[in-house]
Symmetry: C2
C-alpha cells in the first residue's frame, strides 16, 4: 500500500460545522473555538464564511471573528466567500487565504446559491482578481462532486471541466466536496486519480461528509490514489442537528487517529485535539458523532 508520509488537514469546524448550528454563539465563544484549534498543531483552519448575515446568521460577525483571533504562528486562516463583496470583507479582515465554492451539479448550485454554475464561475473570476490584488492564494471548492441530492450521479467529466476552469481563473488548489456523503471508495479513488492526471501539480483537497459512515474509507481510497490534503471538522460537528442522518465532515480527531495509527504524520497533537472535541461538544450541547473523543486514543498507545 503506497501512501503519503504526511497529510495536511484543514479544520472546517468553525465554518462548515458551526454554520449548521441553530443556536447563535457569541463572538467570544467562536474566537475561543478557533484559538483552541490553533493550539493543537492544526496548521490550516477555515475560520468563517463571509456571507450575508441573513443567509447564515451564525456567520454575522465573520470580520470581527477574523480580527479577534489570536493569530498563531504558522497557521493559515481561511475565509470562505460567495462573491466579491465577501472577498473584499475577508481580505479587509485579514484572511490568509480565500475559498470559493461552485457545485458540480447545476440544480444544486441553483438551489443552494440561486445562481447557475456559469454565474458562479463569473463571480469566482471577480473574487480571483481581488485575491490576486491582495496577493492571497485561493482554493476552488467543487461541491456535490460525488453526487447531488437533486440530480443523483454527477459526471466526473463535469467535475474535471469545472476544476480546469477554476485553475484557469487562478485557483491555487482544488477541493472536491462530497456534500451529501454519497461518495464510495472506488469512486473517490477514481476521481482523485483522474484529477491528478489532468491537473498535475495542482494541490487537491478532499472534503468528505460522513453521512453514511464511509468517510474514512473514502479517505483511505483517496490516499491510495495520491491525495494528501483533507478537510475535517472537530467532533464531526456539522450537518443539521434536526435532520436525522445529515452529518458533518469526517471528525478531525478520528481522521488524525487513523492517519497516526497508519504511520502518517499530520503535525497534530491528538490528545489536545480530543480535548477540543469534548469542549465543543459541551458548547453545542448535544452528542457529536466523532468516535475517538469517546473511545480515547488508547489503542494508539496500547497497540501502536
Amino acid at each position: 500500500m503506497t501512501l503519503p508520509g504526511r497529510v495536511s488537514i484543514t479544520e472546517v469546524g468553525p465554518r462548515d460545522g458551526l454554520q449548521n448550528e441553530d443556536t447563535l454563539f457569541a463572538l467570544g465563544r467562536k474566537v475561543e473555538f478557533v484559538d483552541r484549534l490553533s493550539s493543537t498543531g492544526l496548521r490550516r483552519i477555515e475560520a468563517a464564511s463571509f456571507v450575508s448575515p441573513k443567509a447564515i446568521p451564525q456567520m454575522r460577525d465573520a470580520g470581527e471573528l477574523m480580527r479577534g483571533l489570536r493569530r498563531a504562528s504558522g497557521v493559515t486562516y481561511v475565509a470562505l466567500v460567495p462573491n466579491e463583496r465577501g472577498a473584499t470583507d475577508a481580505i479587509a479582515a485579514g484572511a490568509d487565504e480565500i475559498a470559493t465554492v461552485v457545485s458540480a451539479s447545476e440544480t444544486h448550485n441553483q438551489r443552494n446559491i440561486n445562481r447557475s454554475v456559469a454565474q458562479s464561475l463569473d463571480a469566482i473570476a471577480g473574487v480571483a482578481q481581488l485575491a490576486a490584488g491582495a496577493r492571497l492564494p485561493w482554493t476552488g471548492y467543487i461541491s456535490t462532486a460525488f453526487g447531488c441530492p437533486y440530480e443523483g450521479a454527477v459526471d466526473p467529466a463535469r467535475v474535471l471541466e469545472i476544476a480546469e476552469r477554476l485553475v484557469a481563473l487562478g485557483a491555487g488548489g482544488i477541493a472536491l466536496g462530497d456534500t451529501i456523503g454519497a461518495a464510495e471508495p472506488r469512486q473517490a479513488g477514481a476521481l482523485v486519480g483522474a484529477l491528478r492526471a489532468r491537473l498535475a501539480g495542482v494541490p487537491l483537497r478532499l472534503h468528505f461528509h460522513d453521512t453514511r459512515g464511509t468517510a474514512l474509507a473514502n479517505v483511505l481510497a483517496a490516499l491510495q490514489a495520491g491525495a494528501d490534503e483533507f478537510d475535517a471538522s472537530v467532533g464531526g460537528l456539522g450537518g443539521c442537528p434536526y435532520a436525522p442522518g445529515a452529518a458533518g465532515n469526517v471528525a478531525t480527531e478520528d481522521l488524525v487517529y487513523m492517519l497516526h495509527r497508519m504511520g502518517i504524520e499530520t503535525g497534530v497533537d491528538l490528545a489536545a485535539l480530543i480535548e477540543v472535541a469534548r469542549w465543543i461538544e459541551g458548547v453545542v450541547g448535544r452528542a457529536l458523532p466523532g468516535r475517538v473523543k469517546g473511545a480515547g486514543d488508547g489503542a494508539l498507545q496500547a497497540a501502536g
Copy 2:
C-alpha cells in the same frame, strides 16, 4: 482497485450485540430479532452463544432460542461455544455451524475466559471432535488479532501460528477479531495478505469493531487484500452501553450500503435491513451508532 464481486456477511447482532446489553430480553423478542434478520437476505446469522448463564445471562436460553427460530431456507445459524459442554448443547439445539474463540494475546485470553491460550486450544480440540461427530463445520475466531487492551501490539506471527493450529484441528475457516477496534487499514490489509498466503484456500472472515470509526476503512483494506467475508452487527449493536466509546461491530447496514455502492453484491435487501436496524434500536431503547439507518440509502438511488 481489484475487489471481489460478492461478499458474504455474517450477522452477529443477536450474539455479539445482545450479549452486551444489560437489559435481559425475553426469549420471544430474541427469536423475533433473528427471524427478522433472516428475512432480509442475510444468509449467515450468529444466533446465540452457548455459555454459562452466570457468565452471560442474556444467553441463558440459547437452546430454546435455537429451537424456536423459524428456520429460513438457505440460512446458516451459527452458535458460539466456549467449550465441549457448549458444543454439545449447541449441536443438540440444532445449530448449523459452530464458532470457537481463542485470543491472540495470552493476557486477554486469561482475563476473558480464565484460561491460557494452550488450554483454550485444548478445549477447541474437544469441540472440534464433537463438531466432526455431528458433521458440522466450525470456524476458529482469533480475538485481539489486531491489538490487545492489556498487551498492546500483537505479533502477526502469533496470529498466523494460532490460525495454523486451528486449521490443523479441523477449522473450516478462520475469523480475525479486532476486539477493541484497534486495527488500522495498513495493518488489516497486511494481516489478511499474510494469512491468505500462509493458509491458501482456507476461508477467512474479518470481525471489525468500530470503536474508533475505522471499521469501514479496515473493511476496504481487507477487501483489497482479497477478503470477502465479514462479520457485522445490525445497527452497530454491541459494546457496553455504559462504557463510553466501547462499540459494537461495524453496523451491518452501513457495510451493506458501502459494498452495494461499490458494486459488490451481498444478497441483502438494504431497505429491509434498515427496518430491522430501526426496530432493534427501539427494542434496546438507545441510539445505536449505525449511520445509514438515520441517513437512509438515498444516495444509493440518487447518486448510484
